[in-house]
Symmetry: C2
Subunit: 210 residues, 2 copies
Amino acid sequence: MKRADSTKKRIMDVAESIILQKGFASTSIEEIIQQAHITKGGFFYHFDGKSELAYGLLNRYLSADDEFFNDLFSRARELTEDPLQQMLLFLKLLAEAMLALEDTHPGCLVAAFTYESQQFDHSIIETMKKGTLAWRALFSEQLSVIMASRKPRLAIEIDELADMLSAVLEGGIILSRILTDRHVLASQILQYRNYLRLLFENSIEVRTDD
Amino acid sequence: MKRADSTKKRIMDVAESIILQKGFASTSIEEIIQQAHITKGGFFYHFDGKSELAYGLLNRYLSADDEFFNDLFSRARELTEDPLQQMLLFLKLLAEAMLALEDTHPGCLVAAFTYESQQFDHSIIETMKKGTLAWRALFSEQLSVIMASRKPRLAIEIDELADMLSAVLEGGIILSRILTDRHVLASQILQYRNYLRLLFENSIEVRTDD
DNA sequence: AATTTACTATACCAAAGGTATAGTAAATTA
DNA sequence: TAATTTACTATACCTTTGGTATAGTAAATT
């Protein structure tokens, strides 16, 4: 078990990287094993097939993502007690983290799979759905705490506001990739941050919706 | 030329639909010709290969998209003279249009290609880039007119604010697909609309950034 | 009548996914 | 320390199918 230590991880790292560049369908097992320096037999020892690889990658991605967000939230919560300031700080840290990525281009496995969804089975689709709802829950939770003490200037649905962060991230990634400029992604996160500031910061007057 | 009249369009319609469901790589010519009721030879008469199809689809998509946005802007401009109200109305019409789509699920060809970009040649990537910059230009133009008469409550870059609409659309589409609920997309457009309202509507006081 | 358009019908090849089998060095367990 | 399991390498093979090429043809156009 010593030799293997990192083989499976290396396969997954290589596979994820290639998939984010060219999509799942056109990523061949051949290419994966070449870049991971193993043989086909080695690949099939760790994964029953390509579908199992997809499933494994997706689960690992969602876990890492969840940990990453929670870590940023923890750091933000250490520095301030005000829920709004925590969220604003979280977004600042997030934007900085996106700029500091060592990857050539940012990418989200869930988004990559979304546009190839028909080739995946039900369990993968369900996992993607659960992952997306987990993001919603994570952001909603913090927004709820904010709203417990502050009234937004416009009537909003918490879930929609939470989803907007996911949307801005997914969309920002796409724009960043097309324009080959990760500053686009960072700036979008800060736009969302602005929106929250306008909604919640230093209430001047509560305006009704239309 | 009479027989062909609509064949090429039918091929493209079928292809676009399948590609948005399962991605470009895993969309086989076989499947396209079956659904379009032609033979392989017929397909290659119209397109030199799969790459040419991608190129044709992308250009058609970008043209249609441009026309669609401009049409909505025209309708909005007929109803009000205030640039901000025009933009807010445009977004309302856009959100309604997204709900009224007859497609099973919304999709953007540019986004679909983005996560498979490595398999496309330079000209396609360039076209995607130009298309994205065209969206930025289109939205920036209207935002500039708004800012000519109104000061935003927070300092913002027009291009970033323009990109945010593209990002929200792309991200909203992805979320809608994952959650199989197009209301998510519509609601995200309206969130962006809220952001513009908070930035520009009825200036109460001009706040400085930080 | 000649040519071009818009196809149909066949055939073919390389690539890839997946499976199967034989072998082996290292680690674990008994 | 012997037996077994883990974690692989190395080959080979089968089948599917994506992509391309070529030959032929009916209808429309010139």
